[in-house]
Protein backbone atom coordinates (compact mmCIF):
# COMPACT_ATOMS: atom_id res chain seq x y z
CA UNK A 1 0.00 0.00 0.00
CA UNK A 2 1.33 3.43 -0.92
CA UNK A 3 2.12 5.97 1.74
CA UNK A 4 -0.95 8.07 0.83
CA UNK A 5 -3.51 5.26 0.57
CA UNK A 6 -6.35 4.97 3.05
CA UNK A 7 -9.01 2.28 3.27
CA UNK A 8 -12.28 3.23 4.85
CA UNK A 9 -15.57 1.36 4.75
CA UNK A 10 -16.53 1.27 1.07
CA UNK A 11 -13.74 3.63 0.11
CA UNK A 12 -10.44 2.36 -1.20
CA UNK A 13 -8.65 5.62 -1.68
CA UNK A 14 -5.22 6.17 -3.17
CA UNK A 15 -4.98 9.34 -1.10
CA UNK A 16 -7.04 10.96 1.65
CA UNK A 17 -8.07 14.11 -0.25
CA UNK A 18 -11.58 14.65 -1.59
CA UNK A 19 -13.69 17.67 -2.43
CA UNK A 20 -16.45 18.43 0.10
CA UNK A 21 -20.11 18.18 -0.70
CA UNK A 22 -21.68 21.25 -2.28
CA UNK A 23 -18.37 22.84 -3.18
CA UNK A 24 -17.64 20.75 -6.25
CA UNK A 25 -21.03 20.26 -7.89
CA UNK A 26 -20.95 16.87 -9.55
CA UNK A 27 -17.38 17.31 -10.69
CA UNK A 28 -17.94 18.49 -14.26
CA UNK A 29 -16.72 22.05 -13.78
CA UNK A 30 -13.49 21.11 -12.04
CA UNK A 31 -12.82 18.41 -14.61
CA UNK A 32 -12.10 21.32 -16.98
CA UNK A 33 -9.17 22.23 -14.73
CA UNK A 34 -7.64 18.82 -14.01
CA UNK A 35 -8.09 15.09 -14.29
CA UNK A 36 -10.40 14.01 -11.47
CA UNK A 37 -8.71 10.65 -11.52
CA UNK A 38 -6.11 12.16 -9.19
CA UNK A 39 -8.59 12.57 -6.32
CA UNK A 40 -8.83 10.21 -3.37
CA UNK A 41 -12.61 10.27 -3.71
CA UNK A 42 -15.36 12.69 -4.56
CA UNK A 43 -18.39 13.75 -2.54
CA UNK A 44 -21.33 14.85 -4.66
CA UNK A 45 -23.62 17.76 -3.95
CA UNK A 46 -26.60 16.93 -1.75
CA UNK A 47 -29.37 14.85 -3.29
CA UNK A 48 -32.99 15.21 -2.19
CA UNK A 49 -36.06 13.20 -3.10
CA UNK A 50 -37.08 15.45 -5.92
CA UNK A 51 -35.90 18.48 -7.82
CA UNK A 52 -35.25 21.50 -5.56
CA UNK A 53 -34.64 25.10 -6.49
CA UNK A 54 -33.20 26.18 -3.17
CA UNK A 55 -33.15 29.62 -1.62
CA UNK A 56 -33.44 33.00 -3.25
CA UNK A 57 -30.25 34.91 -4.02
CA UNK A 58 -27.95 36.31 -2.66
CA UNK A 59 -26.84 32.91 -1.46
CA UNK A 60 -23.26 33.69 -0.44
CA UNK A 61 -21.40 36.37 1.49
CA UNK A 62 -17.78 36.86 2.40
CA UNK A 63 -16.60 36.95 6.01
CA UNK A 64 -13.20 37.28 7.70
CA UNK A 65 -11.27 34.18 6.57
CA UNK A 66 -14.50 32.51 5.58
CA UNK A 67 -17.80 32.71 3.80
CA UNK A 68 -21.49 32.19 4.45
CA UNK A 69 -23.69 30.17 2.15
CA UNK A 70 -27.37 29.42 2.02
CA UNK A 71 -27.76 27.55 -1.24
CA UNK A 72 -30.71 25.64 0.13
CA UNK A 73 -29.88 22.21 -1.26
CA UNK A 74 -30.56 23.09 -4.88
CA UNK A 75 -30.30 19.86 -6.87
CA UNK A 76 -32.12 18.06 -9.67
CA UNK A 77 -33.37 15.27 -7.37
CA UNK A 78 -31.90 11.85 -6.70
CA UNK A 79 -33.24 10.09 -9.83
CA UNK A 80 -31.84 12.70 -12.17
CA UNK A 81 -28.52 12.65 -10.31
CA UNK A 82 -28.24 8.90 -10.75
CA UNK A 83 -29.21 9.20 -14.38
CA UNK A 84 -27.08 12.14 -15.51
CA UNK A 85 -24.40 12.95 -12.93
CA UNK A 86 -23.22 9.65 -11.49
CA UNK A 87 -22.34 8.23 -14.94
CA UNK A 88 -20.08 11.21 -15.59
CA UNK A 89 -18.18 10.67 -12.34
CA UNK A 90 -18.15 6.92 -12.92
CA UNK A 91 -15.82 7.56 -15.87
CA UNK A 92 -13.13 8.01 -13.25
CA UNK A 93 -12.10 5.04 -11.17
CA UNK A 94 -12.39 6.87 -7.85
CA UNK A 95 -14.84 6.20 -5.04
CA UNK A 96 -18.02 8.27 -5.26
CA UNK A 97 -19.81 9.38 -2.12
CA UNK A 98 -23.42 10.53 -2.39
CA UNK A 99 -24.55 13.24 0.02
CA UNK A 100 -28.09 12.39 1.16
CA UNK A 101 -30.40 15.13 2.41
CA UNK A 102 -34.04 15.38 3.26
CA UNK A 103 -36.74 17.18 5.16
CA UNK A 104 -38.42 14.07 6.53
CA UNK A 105 -37.39 10.57 7.57
CA UNK A 106 -39.28 9.24 4.55
CA UNK A 107 -37.33 11.46 2.19
CA UNK A 108 -33.99 10.36 3.65
CA UNK A 109 -35.05 6.75 3.31
CA UNK A 110 -36.22 7.22 -0.25
CA UNK A 111 -33.02 8.98 -1.35
CA UNK A 112 -30.81 6.40 0.33
CA UNK A 113 -32.74 3.57 -1.29
CA UNK A 114 -32.49 5.21 -4.69
CA UNK A 115 -28.71 4.99 -4.60
CA UNK A 116 -28.99 1.18 -4.32
CA UNK A 117 -29.90 1.21 -8.04
CA UNK A 118 -26.42 2.13 -9.15
CA UNK A 119 -23.15 0.28 -8.65
CA UNK A 120 -21.17 3.43 -9.15
CA UNK A 121 -21.79 4.99 -5.75
CA UNK A 122 -19.56 3.62 -2.98
CA UNK A 123 -20.83 5.26 0.16
CA UNK A 124 -23.44 7.66 1.48
CA UNK A 125 -22.73 10.81 3.42
CA UNK A 126 -25.82 11.40 5.49
CA UNK A 127 -26.36 15.13 5.71
CA UNK A 128 -28.30 15.58 8.93
CA UNK A 129 -26.70 18.90 9.49
CA UNK A 130 -27.43 21.29 6.70
CA UNK A 131 -28.39 24.39 8.66
CA UNK A 132 -30.12 26.10 5.80
CA UNK A 133 -33.34 24.26 5.40
CA UNK A 134 -35.89 25.16 7.97
CA UNK A 135 -38.11 22.16 7.64
CA UNK A 136 -35.62 19.43 8.44
CA UNK A 137 -31.83 19.48 8.56
CA UNK A 138 -31.34 21.48 11.69
CA UNK A 139 -33.44 19.31 13.99
CA UNK A 140 -32.03 15.97 12.88
CA UNK A 141 -28.55 17.32 13.38
CA UNK A 142 -28.86 18.73 16.88
CA UNK A 143 -30.78 16.03 18.68
CA UNK A 144 -28.99 12.73 19.40
CA UNK A 145 -32.13 10.58 19.30
CA UNK A 146 -33.33 12.00 16.03
CA UNK A 147 -29.87 11.66 14.54
CA UNK A 148 -29.71 8.04 15.65
CA UNK A 149 -33.13 7.42 14.23
CA UNK A 150 -32.40 8.74 10.77
CA UNK A 151 -29.09 6.86 10.78
CA UNK A 152 -30.87 3.61 11.59
CA UNK A 153 -33.45 4.12 8.87
CA UNK A 154 -30.86 5.00 6.24
CA UNK A 155 -28.62 2.09 7.24
CA UNK A 156 -31.57 -0.22 6.81
CA UNK A 157 -32.60 1.26 3.47
CA UNK A 158 -29.16 1.28 1.94
CA UNK A 159 -26.68 -1.42 1.00
CA UNK A 160 -23.83 1.10 1.21
CA UNK A 161 -21.62 2.22 4.09
CA UNK A 162 -23.04 5.34 5.72
CA UNK A 163 -20.95 8.29 6.90
CA UNK A 164 -23.01 10.60 9.07
CA UNK A 165 -22.13 14.25 8.60
CA UNK A 166 -22.31 16.06 11.92
CA UNK A 167 -23.36 19.63 12.52
CA UNK A 168 -21.10 21.77 14.72
CA UNK A 169 -24.07 23.78 15.98
CA UNK A 170 -24.52 21.61 19.05
CA UNK A 171 -23.71 21.80 22.75
CA UNK A 172 -22.21 18.33 22.84
CA UNK A 173 -20.67 16.92 19.69
CA UNK A 174 -19.51 13.75 21.43
CA UNK A 175 -23.01 12.59 22.29
CA UNK A 176 -24.10 13.21 18.72
CA UNK A 177 -21.20 11.12 17.46
CA UNK A 178 -21.80 8.32 19.93
CA UNK A 179 -25.50 8.25 19.16
CA UNK A 180 -25.00 7.77 15.44
CA UNK A 181 -22.17 5.29 15.98
CA UNK A 182 -24.49 3.17 18.12
CA UNK A 183 -27.17 3.50 15.47
CA UNK A 184 -24.85 1.83 13.00
CA UNK A 185 -22.97 4.59 11.22
CA UNK A 186 -19.89 3.26 9.42
CA UNK A 187 -18.09 6.55 9.69
CA UNK A 188 -18.43 10.22 10.52
CA UNK A 189 -17.97 13.26 8.39
CA UNK A 190 -17.34 16.49 10.24
CA UNK A 191 -17.89 19.32 10.34
CA UNK A 192 -20.63 20.94 8.40
CA UNK A 193 -20.94 24.73 8.54
CA UNK A 194 -21.52 26.90 11.61
CA UNK A 195 -24.72 28.87 11.51
CA UNK A 196 -24.00 32.56 10.94
CA UNK A 197 -25.29 35.83 9.54
CA UNK A 198 -24.04 39.02 8.00
CA UNK A 199 -26.00 42.25 7.82
CA UNK A 200 -25.63 44.54 4.82
CA UNK A 201 -25.29 48.01 6.31
CA UNK A 202 -26.55 50.16 3.43
CA UNK A 203 -29.77 48.14 3.09
CA UNK A 204 -29.98 47.29 6.82
CA UNK A 205 -30.91 43.69 5.98
CA UNK A 206 -29.19 40.33 6.25
CA UNK A 207 -27.14 39.90 3.07
CA UNK A 208 -28.35 36.37 2.44
CA UNK A 209 -31.91 36.12 1.20
CA UNK A 210 -32.28 33.23 3.65
CA UNK A 211 -31.04 35.56 6.45
CA UNK A 212 -28.79 32.93 8.07
CA UNK A 213 -26.23 30.79 6.30
CA UNK A 214 -23.46 28.33 6.95
CA UNK A 215 -20.02 29.62 7.85
CA UNK A 216 -17.13 27.76 6.23
CA UNK A 217 -13.46 28.35 5.46
CA UNK A 218 -10.32 28.83 7.59
CA UNK A 219 -12.28 30.81 10.20
CA UNK A 220 -13.94 27.60 11.43
CA UNK A 221 -10.92 25.31 11.38
CA UNK A 222 -10.23 25.59 15.15
CA UNK A 223 -13.81 24.51 15.86
CA UNK A 224 -13.50 21.60 13.42
CA UNK A 225 -10.17 20.44 14.85
CA UNK A 226 -11.55 20.59 18.39
CA UNK A 227 -14.59 18.53 17.45
CA UNK A 228 -12.66 15.90 15.50
CA UNK A 229 -10.19 15.63 18.37
CA UNK A 230 -12.89 15.21 21.01
CA UNK A 231 -14.96 12.78 18.97
CA UNK A 232 -11.92 10.68 18.04
CA UNK A 233 -11.41 9.94 21.75
CA UNK A 234 -14.90 8.49 22.01
CA UNK A 235 -15.70 6.60 18.83
CA UNK A 236 -14.23 3.66 16.94
CA UNK A 237 -15.51 4.49 13.47
CA UNK A 238 -13.35 6.53 11.08
CA UNK A 239 -13.76 10.25 10.59
CA UNK A 240 -13.62 12.25 7.37
CA UNK A 241 -12.43 15.64 8.60
CA UNK A 242 -13.19 19.01 7.06
CA UNK A 243 -13.61 22.67 7.85
CA UNK A 244 -11.26 25.35 6.61
CA UNK A 245 -8.61 23.21 4.96
CA UNK A 246 -6.58 25.40 2.64
CA UNK A 247 -3.03 24.08 2.79
CA UNK A 248 -1.17 20.86 3.38
CA UNK A 249 -0.41 21.67 7.02
CA UNK A 250 -4.15 21.85 7.58
CA UNK A 251 -4.46 18.32 6.18
CA UNK A 252 -1.81 17.05 8.61
CA UNK A 253 -3.53 18.87 11.47
CA UNK A 254 -6.80 17.05 10.75
CA UNK A 255 -4.98 13.71 10.54
CA UNK A 256 -3.31 14.39 13.90
CA UNK A 257 -6.68 15.33 15.41
CA UNK A 258 -7.99 11.94 14.34
CA UNK A 259 -9.40 12.22 10.82
CA UNK A 260 -8.64 9.30 8.48
CA UNK A 261 -9.28 11.35 5.37
CA UNK A 262 -10.22 14.95 4.67
CA UNK A 263 -12.58 16.94 2.50
CA UNK A 264 -11.87 20.36 1.05
CA UNK A 265 -14.72 22.77 0.49
CA UNK A 266 -14.44 26.54 0.32
CA UNK A 267 -10.78 26.45 -0.75
CA UNK A 268 -11.83 25.16 -4.18
CA UNK A 269 -13.37 28.56 -4.88
CA UNK A 270 -10.13 30.39 -4.25
CA UNK A 271 -7.99 27.79 -6.01
CA UNK A 272 -9.64 25.25 -8.33
CA UNK A 273 -6.44 23.18 -8.21
CA UNK A 274 -6.37 22.93 -4.43
CA UNK A 275 -7.13 19.19 -4.27
CA UNK A 276 -4.45 17.98 -6.71
CA UNK A 277 -1.97 20.44 -5.19
CA UNK A 278 -2.58 19.06 -1.70
CA UNK A 279 -2.19 15.51 -3.01
CA UNK A 280 1.11 16.45 -4.59
CA UNK A 281 2.44 18.18 -1.49
CA UNK A 282 1.30 15.57 1.00
CA UNK A 283 4.23 13.13 0.78
CA UNK A 284 6.78 15.86 1.58
CA UNK A 285 4.66 17.25 4.37
CA UNK A 286 4.29 13.82 5.93
CA UNK A 287 8.01 13.20 5.94
CA UNK A 288 8.74 16.73 7.16
CA UNK A 289 6.80 15.93 10.32
CA UNK A 290 8.27 12.43 10.61
CA UNK A 291 5.43 10.27 9.34
CA UNK A 292 5.88 7.24 7.11
CA UNK A 293 2.38 7.39 5.68
CA UNK A 294 -1.05 8.90 6.09
CA UNK A 295 -2.08 5.90 8.19
CA UNK A 296 0.88 6.61 10.44
CA UNK A 297 -0.26 10.18 11.12
CA UNK A 298 -3.90 9.47 11.95
CA UNK A 299 -4.70 10.35 15.55
CA UNK A 300 -1.09 11.12 16.45
CA UNK A 301 -2.11 14.43 18.03
CA UNK A 302 -3.49 12.41 20.93
CA UNK A 303 -0.10 11.52 22.37
CA UNK A 304 1.51 8.13 22.64
Amino acid sequence: MSELAVNLPGLQMKNPIMPASGCFGFGREYSDFYDLQQLGAVIMKAATGSNRYGNSTPRVAETASGMLNAIGLQNPGVEKIIETEVPFLANYSIPIIANVAGSTLEEYEMVAKAFNQTDSVHALELNISCPNVKEGGIQFGTNPEMAANVTRIVKKASNLPVYVKLSPNVSDIVSMAKAVEEAGADGLSMINTLSGMQIHLPSKKPILANQTGGLSGPAIKPVAIRMVYEVKKHVQIPIIGMGGISNVDDVIEFLLAGASAVAVGTANFQNPFICPELIEELPNALSKYGFLSVEDAIGKGHGA
Binding site: R28, D32, N51, Y53, R59, M67, Q74, P218, Q270, P272
Partner: protein
Protein backbone atom coordinates in the same frame (compact mmCIF):
# COMPACT_ATOMS: atom_id res chain seq x y z
CA UNK B 1 -11.65 27.92 -22.17
CA UNK B 2 -11.51 29.01 -18.54
CA UNK B 3 -8.13 28.71 -16.86
CA UNK B 4 -6.42 29.89 -13.71
CA UNK B 5 -3.91 32.46 -14.89
CA UNK B 6 -1.57 35.09 -13.51
CA UNK B 7 -1.94 38.49 -15.10
CA UNK B 8 0.62 41.26 -15.00
CA UNK B 9 -0.71 44.68 -14.05
CA UNK B 10 0.61 46.86 -16.85
CA UNK B 11 -1.28 49.97 -15.86
CA UNK B 12 -3.63 51.03 -13.09
CA UNK B 13 -5.34 54.42 -13.19
CA UNK B 14 -8.20 56.09 -11.37
CA UNK B 15 -10.24 57.26 -14.36
CA UNK B 16 -13.31 58.53 -12.53
CA UNK B 17 -14.50 58.86 -8.97
CA UNK B 18 -13.61 55.64 -7.14
CA UNK B 19 -13.26 53.91 -10.48
CA UNK B 20 -10.07 52.10 -11.45
CA UNK B 21 -9.02 51.11 -14.95
CA UNK B 22 -6.52 48.28 -15.00
CA UNK B 23 -4.64 46.93 -18.01
CA UNK B 24 -3.65 43.30 -17.54
CA UNK B 25 -1.28 41.29 -19.64
CA UNK B 26 -1.86 37.60 -20.27
CA UNK B 27 -1.61 35.61 -23.44
CA UNK B 28 -4.31 33.02 -22.89
CA UNK B 29 -6.92 35.45 -21.68
CA UNK B 30 -6.29 38.15 -24.28
CA UNK B 31 -6.37 35.57 -27.07
CA UNK B 32 -9.56 33.80 -26.07
CA UNK B 33 -11.71 36.44 -24.35
CA UNK B 34 -15.03 37.49 -25.88
CA UNK B 35 -16.99 40.68 -25.11
CA UNK B 36 -19.29 40.01 -22.15
CA UNK B 37 -17.00 37.52 -20.46
CA UNK B 38 -15.48 38.27 -17.08
CA UNK B 39 -12.44 37.58 -14.94
CA UNK B 40 -12.83 36.03 -11.49
CA UNK B 41 -10.10 37.93 -9.69
CA UNK B 42 -8.36 36.76 -6.52
CA UNK B 43 -7.49 39.38 -3.91
CA UNK B 44 -4.96 38.69 -1.15
CA UNK B 45 -6.68 38.14 2.18
CA UNK B 46 -10.13 37.57 0.70
CA UNK B 47 -11.89 34.22 0.64
CA UNK B 48 -13.93 34.88 -2.47
CA UNK B 49 -12.77 36.03 -5.86
CA UNK B 50 -14.36 39.12 -7.44
CA UNK B 51 -16.08 38.90 -10.84
CA UNK B 52 -15.09 41.82 -13.07
CA UNK B 53 -16.06 42.20 -16.73
CA UNK B 54 -13.60 42.57 -19.53
CA UNK B 55 -13.78 46.10 -20.96
CA UNK B 56 -11.17 45.92 -23.74
CA UNK B 57 -9.31 43.15 -25.49
CA UNK B 58 -5.99 43.97 -27.12
CA UNK B 59 -4.74 40.87 -28.89
CA UNK B 60 -1.65 42.61 -30.23
CA UNK B 61 -0.29 43.64 -26.86
CA UNK B 62 -1.83 40.56 -25.24
CA UNK B 63 -3.74 42.63 -22.71
CA UNK B 64 -7.26 42.91 -21.45
CA UNK B 65 -8.58 45.96 -19.61
CA UNK B 66 -10.96 45.89 -16.67
CA UNK B 67 -12.75 48.77 -14.98
CA UNK B 68 -14.01 48.51 -11.47
CA UNK B 69 -15.72 50.60 -8.87
CA UNK B 70 -14.04 50.76 -5.46
CA UNK B 71 -17.09 49.48 -3.68
CA UNK B 72 -16.12 47.34 -0.71
CA UNK B 73 -12.96 46.02 0.86
CA UNK B 74 -11.90 43.78 -2.00
CA UNK B 75 -12.10 46.30 -4.81
CA UNK B 76 -10.51 48.93 -2.57
CA UNK B 77 -7.58 46.61 -1.94
CA UNK B 78 -7.37 45.81 -5.65
CA UNK B 79 -7.20 49.49 -6.53
CA UNK B 80 -4.04 49.71 -4.41
CA UNK B 81 -2.25 46.98 -6.35
CA UNK B 82 0.79 48.47 -8.05
CA UNK B 83 1.80 48.23 -11.67
CA UNK B 84 4.25 45.38 -12.11
CA UNK B 85 2.43 43.12 -9.66
CA UNK B 86 0.71 39.92 -10.74
CA UNK B 87 -2.89 39.08 -9.97
CA UNK B 88 -4.54 35.68 -10.16
CA UNK B 89 -7.74 35.29 -12.13
CA UNK B 90 -9.95 32.55 -13.44
CA UNK B 91 -10.95 33.40 -16.97
CA UNK B 92 -12.14 34.13 -19.44
CA UNK B 93 -15.31 33.19 -17.55
CA UNK B 94 -18.91 32.80 -18.63
CA UNK B 95 -20.40 33.35 -22.05
CA UNK B 96 -20.10 36.58 -23.98
CA UNK B 97 -22.74 38.52 -25.90
CA UNK B 98 -24.15 36.64 -28.88
CA UNK B 99 -23.78 38.72 -32.06
CA UNK B 100 -24.34 36.79 -35.22
CA UNK B 101 -25.48 38.31 -38.52
CA UNK B 102 -25.22 41.91 -37.43
CA UNK B 103 -23.41 43.14 -40.56
CA UNK B 104 -24.90 46.48 -41.65
CA UNK B 105 -27.27 46.40 -38.76
CA UNK B 106 -27.62 48.80 -35.84
CA UNK B 107 -27.40 47.95 -32.16
CA UNK B 108 -28.21 49.96 -29.05
CA UNK B 109 -26.02 49.68 -25.95
CA UNK B 110 -27.73 50.68 -22.70
CA UNK B 111 -25.35 50.82 -19.75
CA UNK B 112 -25.54 51.96 -16.17
CA UNK B 113 -22.47 52.86 -14.10
CA UNK B 114 -20.06 50.03 -13.66
CA UNK B 115 -22.21 47.91 -16.00
CA UNK B 116 -20.86 49.93 -18.91
CA UNK B 117 -17.41 48.28 -19.39
CA UNK B 118 -18.58 45.02 -21.05
CA UNK B 119 -20.77 47.05 -23.42
CA UNK B 120 -17.76 49.04 -24.50
CA UNK B 121 -15.92 45.82 -25.22
CA UNK B 122 -18.81 44.65 -27.39
CA UNK B 123 -19.28 48.01 -29.12
CA UNK B 124 -15.61 48.23 -30.05
CA UNK B 125 -15.60 44.71 -31.46
CA UNK B 126 -18.77 45.24 -33.48
CA UNK B 127 -17.90 48.73 -34.74
CA UNK B 128 -14.77 47.17 -36.23
CA UNK B 129 -16.99 44.62 -37.96
CA UNK B 130 -19.16 47.27 -39.59
CA UNK B 131 -22.08 47.36 -37.17
CA UNK B 132 -23.63 50.74 -36.37
CA UNK B 133 -23.42 51.49 -32.64
CA UNK B 134 -25.67 53.71 -30.57
CA UNK B 135 -25.26 54.07 -26.84
CA UNK B 136 -27.11 55.42 -23.82
CA UNK B 137 -24.97 55.57 -20.71
CA UNK B 138 -26.25 56.43 -17.26
CA UNK B 139 -24.11 57.60 -14.36
CA UNK B 140 -24.74 58.82 -10.80
CA UNK B 141 -23.12 62.17 -11.22
CA UNK B 142 -20.64 64.17 -13.31
CA UNK B 143 -17.42 62.94 -11.76
CA UNK B 144 -18.32 59.28 -12.11
CA UNK B 145 -18.59 59.56 -15.90
CA UNK B 146 -16.00 57.55 -17.85
CA UNK B 147 -15.38 56.38 -21.43
CA UNK B 148 -17.58 59.11 -22.95
CA UNK B 149 -15.07 59.96 -25.67
CA UNK B 150 -14.35 56.29 -26.31
CA UNK B 151 -18.06 55.57 -26.90
CA UNK B 152 -18.46 58.64 -29.08
CA UNK B 153 -15.77 57.23 -31.33
CA UNK B 154 -17.93 54.15 -31.78
CA UNK B 155 -21.15 56.00 -32.56
CA UNK B 156 -23.95 58.24 -31.33
CA UNK B 157 -23.81 58.37 -27.53
CA UNK B 158 -26.11 59.97 -24.94
CA UNK B 159 -25.05 60.45 -21.34
CA UNK B 160 -27.49 60.76 -18.45
CA UNK B 161 -26.80 61.49 -14.80
CA UNK B 162 -29.17 60.83 -11.94
CA UNK B 163 -28.54 64.26 -10.46
CA UNK B 164 -28.37 66.15 -13.77
CA UNK B 165 -24.83 67.31 -13.09
CA UNK B 166 -23.78 66.16 -16.56
CA UNK B 167 -25.59 65.25 -19.78
CA UNK B 168 -29.32 64.56 -19.57
CA UNK B 169 -30.91 64.72 -16.16
CA UNK B 170 -32.53 61.41 -15.29
CA UNK B 171 -32.39 57.72 -16.07
CA UNK B 172 -31.34 55.94 -19.24
CA UNK B 173 -34.94 54.91 -19.84
CA UNK B 174 -35.91 58.59 -20.06
CA UNK B 175 -33.84 59.03 -23.22
CA UNK B 176 -33.90 55.61 -24.90
CA UNK B 177 -36.82 56.86 -26.97
CA UNK B 178 -34.57 59.41 -28.65
CA UNK B 179 -32.28 56.79 -30.13
CA UNK B 180 -34.33 55.97 -33.24
CA UNK B 181 -34.31 52.47 -34.67
CA UNK B 182 -31.97 49.58 -34.00
CA UNK B 183 -32.08 45.83 -34.57
CA UNK B 184 -31.05 44.61 -31.19
CA UNK B 185 -30.11 46.01 -27.78
CA UNK B 186 -27.58 45.00 -25.16
CA UNK B 187 -27.83 46.18 -21.58
CA UNK B 188 -25.88 45.90 -18.36
CA UNK B 189 -26.18 47.79 -15.09
CA UNK B 190 -28.04 47.80 -11.77
CA UNK B 191 -31.01 45.44 -11.49
CA UNK B 192 -33.53 48.30 -11.28
CA UNK B 193 -32.21 49.68 -14.55
CA UNK B 194 -32.30 46.27 -16.23
CA UNK B 195 -35.90 45.80 -15.17
CA UNK B 196 -36.87 49.24 -16.48
CA UNK B 197 -34.99 48.75 -19.75
CA UNK B 198 -36.27 45.26 -20.51
CA UNK B 199 -39.80 46.32 -19.70
CA UNK B 200 -39.55 49.40 -21.88
CA UNK B 201 -37.97 47.46 -24.75
CA UNK B 202 -40.20 44.42 -24.29
CA UNK B 203 -40.88 44.06 -27.99
CA UNK B 204 -37.27 44.40 -29.08
CA UNK B 205 -34.80 41.60 -29.26
CA UNK B 206 -32.13 42.16 -26.67
CA UNK B 207 -29.60 40.75 -24.25
CA UNK B 208 -28.96 41.52 -20.59
CA UNK B 209 -25.79 40.92 -18.65
CA UNK B 210 -26.48 40.09 -15.01
CA UNK B 211 -24.66 40.34 -11.69
CA UNK B 212 -24.98 38.16 -8.64
CA UNK B 213 -22.78 37.33 -5.64
CA UNK B 214 -20.63 34.37 -6.59
CA UNK B 215 -18.90 31.55 -4.79
CA UNK B 216 -16.95 29.38 -7.20
CA UNK B 217 -17.45 31.39 -10.39
CA UNK B 218 -17.27 28.20 -12.44
CA UNK B 219 -20.73 26.67 -12.08
CA UNK B 220 -20.12 24.27 -9.20
CA UNK B 221 -21.68 25.87 -6.14
CA UNK B 222 -25.10 27.13 -7.27
CA UNK B 223 -24.58 30.50 -5.58
CA UNK B 224 -25.43 32.60 -8.62
CA UNK B 225 -28.61 31.15 -10.05
CA UNK B 226 -31.38 33.12 -11.69
CA UNK B 227 -34.86 31.68 -12.19
CA UNK B 228 -35.99 30.99 -15.76
CA UNK B 229 -39.27 29.92 -17.27
CA UNK B 230 -37.65 26.95 -18.99
CA UNK B 231 -34.34 25.04 -18.80
CA UNK B 232 -35.12 23.29 -15.52
CA UNK B 233 -36.17 26.52 -13.88
CA UNK B 234 -32.81 28.21 -13.42
CA UNK B 235 -29.54 29.15 -14.99
CA UNK B 236 -26.15 29.89 -13.45
CA UNK B 237 -24.94 33.42 -14.07
CA UNK B 238 -21.25 32.49 -13.81
CA UNK B 239 -21.40 29.67 -16.31
CA UNK B 240 -24.57 29.94 -18.41
CA UNK B 241 -24.38 33.76 -18.26
CA UNK B 242 -23.64 36.44 -17.37
CA UNK B 243 -25.36 37.28 -20.65
CA UNK B 244 -28.90 36.05 -21.30
CA UNK B 245 -31.54 36.79 -23.87
CA UNK B 246 -33.79 39.41 -22.27
CA UNK B 247 -36.82 37.13 -22.38
CA UNK B 248 -35.02 34.07 -21.02
CA UNK B 249 -34.64 35.08 -17.37
CA UNK B 250 -36.99 36.44 -14.71
CA UNK B 251 -35.54 39.72 -13.46
Amino acid sequence: MIRKENLLIVKSTEIARETTEMVLQNQHISRTAQPGQFLHIGIEGHTLRRPISIAKIDKKNETVTVLFKQLGEGTKALSNYQEGMQISALGPSGNGFPYDNLLNKTILLVGGGIGIPPLYCLGKELAAEGVTIKAVLGFQTADSVFYEAAFKELGETLITTNDGSYGHHGFVTDVIGKMGDYDCYYTCGPMAMLQAVTTKLEHQSGYVSLEERMGCGVGACFACVIPTETQGGYRKICKDGPVFAANEVKL
